[in-house]
Subunit: 284 residues, 2 copies
């Protein structure tokens, strides 16, 4: 992490919290503004959008934290105003389930649905502290040996890369071959993750983290965009302060689609989030 | 597979198709009957229920096959009448997205929602035939060295085991230690899967297959039920006829929850389905 990113930024002052803020307009209806600061290529980042939906759900439901959140991406979001409609599906003692839709407006003013989400929320702080995880943290080189957006050659990504200024991602040297035209051929992407302004991770920001690294398809030699069809994230533990480690793998690229499995580890060596998405494979 | 299971059963004559039939009552409303034949311990199997929802979605949406289907389980289903309500969320050229709810009736006649689902459907037969899967089929012993429900000691599962009569599951010897009180301690369950009446697999029956093996927690030495909170399944390829291989792993048992990742391979060595669920860990 850069020196600046080591400074502590209060949640209210962070770019992430400012840009995922939602304003209650009516019961179950939240206004939001999709920031152009989280775009990559031609799209608003799907993890950023998920965090917006996750924040609205957390405000609406009786439980605060996303335990499992399944998002189906319908149409491409664009920077600008949006509305989030939230419905409580079921309220239980330890879990409650909600549904949310993110909508934007067509030129004629009609609403167009961008994303629909089902999520079960709970209270991470109320969980027992048993840990029998057999998974081991991913092997990622030390931060100072990893590559950030300002290191080395600039990869040829067309269009916006605004999001790279808000993230402090350091990719493992073993998964940056794509940036110099020498992809490894392995469906893997690994690196350190932080928010550039130093805001510490929390369950909401993990929803961004799982979808923030370059797509594994880059390392498979495929350029171009991999639009997400569906992304489901399990948040399993409140992350400790400090940088996160993210490991993403793709094992099944076939029939024009691929899956991306992400796992996120915190500075205390806890597996704090697991996600899987189905995405369309790039054509090239 | 047993001799009887090698006989071909037409789809209409199969137990699975009969028990997942849905009857259109009104636009978007389907009547169903949850069969007691798919219960285990005290619950109706979640994969069987998912197949019912999947069938209703397939009839309602313009595309036939579930590509990715995310189910959040709300309350325990019981054998008997049910209604499925389906809504089209978006219709696209290659994918359409739908939402479905399975409901049953309380004693006073009010509807109680059991499961809510978001799903994106497509046409598996329209996909290009590129396959760049790096995953290898799971190492499972030959069928004749695996253990079926009628082989060896009967594991101490309380309550109903009706579903075992409808499935032809042969577990790998490496993952049956739990049945004789000697769990491996590894979060893995592997085996061959078929329907007992010999009906060949299809995209709908894969929704059952991903949730049909004993829970991995048995091999972690935990008895008791692991109720599913959320289950997302990707169907990636129409399965070839013949027995399937299923491999399920759990890497993160912590805080009273665990994930189960399943992959399903067909007789042509294609990875036909991948699923992940979040479940509550048994207490014991």
């Amino acid at each position: 992490m850069s020196t600046s990113s080591m400074e502590t930024v209060s949640a209210s002052a962070s770019e992430f919290d400012r840009d995922t803020a939602v304003t209650l307009r009516a019961p179950g209806v939240y206004d939001a503004e999709l920031s152009a600061g989280w775009t990559i290529i031609h799209a608003v980042n799907g993890g950023y959008l998920l965090a917006l939906l996750g924040r609205a759900l957390g405000q609406h439901l009786p439980h605060p934290d996303p335990f499992t959140i399944s998002a189906h991406y319908l149409t491409p979001s664009v920077p600008g105003p949006a509305v989030i409609r939230v419905e409580t599906v079921r309220t239980g003692r330890t879990l409650s389930t909600g549904q949310a839709s993110l909508l934007q407006y067509a030129e004629d003013g009609t609403e167009v649905e961008r994303i629909r989400v089902l999520a079960s929320y709970g209270d991470l702080d109320a969980l027992p502290d048993d840990v029998r995880t057999t998974a081991a943290p991913p092997a990622i080189a030390p931060i100072d040996q990893c590559f950030g957006a300002s290191d080395g050659p600039t990869p040829a990504i067309p269009g916006s890369s605004a999001i790279t200024e808000r993230l402090d991602i350091r990719l493992d040297p073993a998964t940056v071959g794509w940036a110099i035209g020498a992809p490894s051929g392995k469906g893997a992407m690994r690196g350190w993750f932080g928010l550039a302004d130093g805001r510490d991770p929390d369950p909401l920001s993990l929803l961004l983290t799982v979808d923030a690294l370059p797509p594994t398809s880059f390392e498979l030699g495929l350029k171009g965009w991999t639009p997400t069809v569906e992304l489901t994230t399990h948040v399993r533990c409140r992350p400790a302060p400090g940088p996160l480690r993210v490991s993403i793998t793709t094992r099944n690229l076939a029939g024009g689609f691929l899956e991306e499995d992400a796992e996120v580890w915190d500075s205390a060596d806890r597996l704090v989030a697991q996600s899987r998405q189905l995405a369309r494979a790039p054509r090239g």
